[in-house]
Symmetry: C2
Subunit: 319 residues, 2 copies
């Protein structure tokens, strides 16, 4: 193969991580720059070009890159545009694919970060061989990438798969970052878990390790650490979270009847404290014809490489 | 074309309607038999064979049929089996595709009735030219057929698209035919509308034309007739129904980002009394990035032909 490599770029609001990846999904080399350093997209792309070129030169990859794949918030696969990137330091919309491909002279494909994760998982991870699965990313928000019959679902406008924004609580639901109330993301993201902690601590009077820290500073990691130590209130928070996730996944099942859900992101690494109530709730809430048929898997991608790998897999289809 | 026709069969619990259809979607001839007359699948297929053969002979179609498409409750596209047909007069599962193709010597494809309707709508109806849409059938139950990128979604096991069974009310929801509670179908089907009528009549004291009939006999048609005459309570029932449908369709939108929803079935013909609150609710509950992008259409297929046309379209892909 004359062009045996792809480049994967994971653009986050804080950092941009990138790597050179071969066809077997090995990250040959990787590095990063600060997204936040630039309040101008052209400066950002200039630095990206300098750093990626340096990486290619150091690894004998110049002229050997088939395509560049980018995972970025609100990135549209069809248009190549970041349409409304609220966490980025420059004005949107930005024609990212065009700007990057012109700068590098290499074909570029972009998609949102959850879709990139789904493609990575299908190509290199827990979803290898699965034609029908749904990736659920449990991070600051709740994202998703839906794969049906081996194809990522983009929808008519490129924005399909916003499963963090189905409504789980129709009355008195929590305010979500999307402006509506009651979304799954407002409960089952890392920030959702922290919000649940504050609610439980205020509504209850029982002792908890979580009462030893300032309530506004509690993170989902703190709740996890307390739960692992056997803290009842912390375990109840994960029970609440897993229970709602199970209800949501049961609803998603009637849509596309996936063979598996693949969980990804910080919260997905909580182990049984989350997965046990989640799986119980999923089976309990499942429509009869789907009971016992749907697996809940955790991403197998190495944490540090996952986002870059996912984005890079998209580079193979860039043209 | 040596085989210019397909046969479409719409198998319902009461009647089985079938027709010979040409490539432009014209129903050349059609007829029906009573499904309920037979408590044995072999007798049923024998009568179907006799009657369809008679129809083919009368229309010079013998030897000219490319394939047979069948829409039937709980029919599985992948396996060719009716897996759990609760409303059919013989025991299930039944290997329907195999039995019919052996009897006729013609390739057979089967799917459930809502999927057949979606294929018909895409081939001949309101969804022509649409690659991403969701068919919602509002009949005795609520069914759905999901089309993504021009392909019907079957899921890993053939049972995808059971959107009548997403949970709309998580606490104290109505009992659904599927055994769970709070499903969309329990509220927004024709029977759901009748149940809402009974609830409203019992909970309220205002006058209504619906109070002139025995409460247990009220059908969705009665509610519609009263609403059209300006009856406030009947209009509120449709407002309640349209509002919940709008909430549901807004949730479905974040999944596959369809260009349109196509409504089909008796309730779908209710006009503005249903569509106005539905469209208002859909836009009100829509995630911002999808607002104003998604159409709500009503099936264009001629009522008498719709189910047969939908099934027949599947006959072109039978092999």
């Amino acid at each position: 193969m004359s062009k045996p490599y792809v480049i994967g770029i994971d653009m986050g609001g804080t950092n941009t991580v990138f790597g050179i990846v071969d066809a077997r999904g090995v990250v040959i080399a990787s590095s990063s720059i600060k997204t936040q350093k630039h309040n101008n997209i052209d400066d950002y792309i200039d630095e990206l070009y300098v750093e990626i070129t340096r990486l290619m030169e150091a690894n004998d990859a110049v002229g050997k890159v088939h395509g560049i794949g980018i995972g970025a918030p609100n990135a549209n696969y069809y248009t190549g545009i970041i349409e409304d990137g609220v966490n980025l330091p420059w004005p949107t919309p930005v024609p990212l694919a065009k700007l990057v491909s012109e700068k590098f002279g290499i074909p570029v494909a972009i998609t949102n970060d959850a879709n990139a994760a789904a493609i990575g998982e299908m190509t290199y991870g827990a979803a290898r061989g699965l034609k029908d699965f749904i990736m659920i990313t449990l991070g600051t928000g709740v994202g998703s990438g839906i794969v049906i019959n081996g194809q990522l679902v983009y929808g008519h406008d490129g924005f399909a798969g916003e499963l963090g924004h189905v409504i789980m609580k129709r009355n008195n639901g929590r305010l979500c970052g999307c402006g509506r109330t009651g979304c799954l993301e407002a409960y089952c993201s890392a920030t959702g878990v922290a919000r649940t902690a504050r609610e439980f601590l205020e509504a209850r009077t029982d002792e908890s390790l979580l009462r030893n820290m300032p309530i506004e500073d509690i993170t989902s990691k703190d709740v996890y650490d307390a739960a692992i130590q056997g803290d009842k209130l912390a375990k109840d928070i994960f029970e609440f979270t897993g229970n709602m996730l199970g209800e949501a996944l049961a609803d998603f099942t009637v849509f596309s009847s996936p063979k598996a859900f693949v969980l990804f992101g910080g919260l997905a690494k909580s182990g049984d404290v989350l997965l046990k109530p989640l799986r119980q709730s999923l089976e309990k809430n499942m429509m009869t014809i789907f009971k016992g048929k749907v697996d809940v898997l955790v991403s197998e991608l190495k944490e540090a490489d996952a986002a870059v790998l996912g984005a890079s897999a998209l580079g193979w289809e860039a043209k």
